[in-house]
Amino acid sequence: MELLIALSIGVLVACGVYLVLRASTFPVVMGLTLLSYATNLFLFAMGRLAIGVPAVIRPDATVYADPLPQALVLTAIVIAFGMTAFAIVLALKARGETGSDHVDGEVDS
């Protein structure tokens, strides 16, 4: 199972990185979104994986998943959302100002 998660993280990172390195703003933002998915999964996995344990305190339960990484991921998700939103609007702004979707502000060719 851990292998599968690691593989997923790896693929997400690879896809995200590849898209981030593209020359137009939209793929870059998509790449950033993929990267944030990868980050969330990674951060979450850092609390180790646990299947079928209760998510809230129950009198009869003794084993729980590590809640801290979950809280961190929540924070990270929110922040990534704000950042992505900003980035995409900025991409629009750049298009408005430079007339181009190219990340370096040159006219699309």
Binding site: G52, P54, A55, V56
Partner: protein
């Protein structure tokens, strides 16, 4: 008995998931892919409820509820994009 059929049910829903993924992969048209995504949402709800049954935990309900509510918005927005481009006007 439930515990016996659950793996089977999981298998069927997983297969459904993969079939939807297939449609997502091959398209061919954009509405096809939107439909595939919509179906993925449905499959996911089923999967979640099955999880809940397997774990005996009611905590998966909200996720299902949310998908039912939110997935709809996604599909609507995508369809409207095809129709109007400007989804909020």
């Amino acid at each position: 008995m439930l515990s016996m059929v659950l793996p089977l049910a999981f298998g069927m829903v997983s297969l459904a998931l993969l079939l939807s993924l297939y449609r997502l992969l091959v398209g061919p048209s954009v509405p096809d892919r939107i439909l595939a995504l919509d179906t993925l949402y449905l499959n996911t709800i089923a999967l979640l409820i099955l999880f809940g049954l397997m774990q005996g935990s009611p905590l998966y309900f909200e996720a299902a509820l949310l998908i039912a509510v939110m997935g709809f918005v996604g599909t609507i927005a995508l369809s409207k994009y095809l129709l109007r481009g400007d989804i909020m006007e």
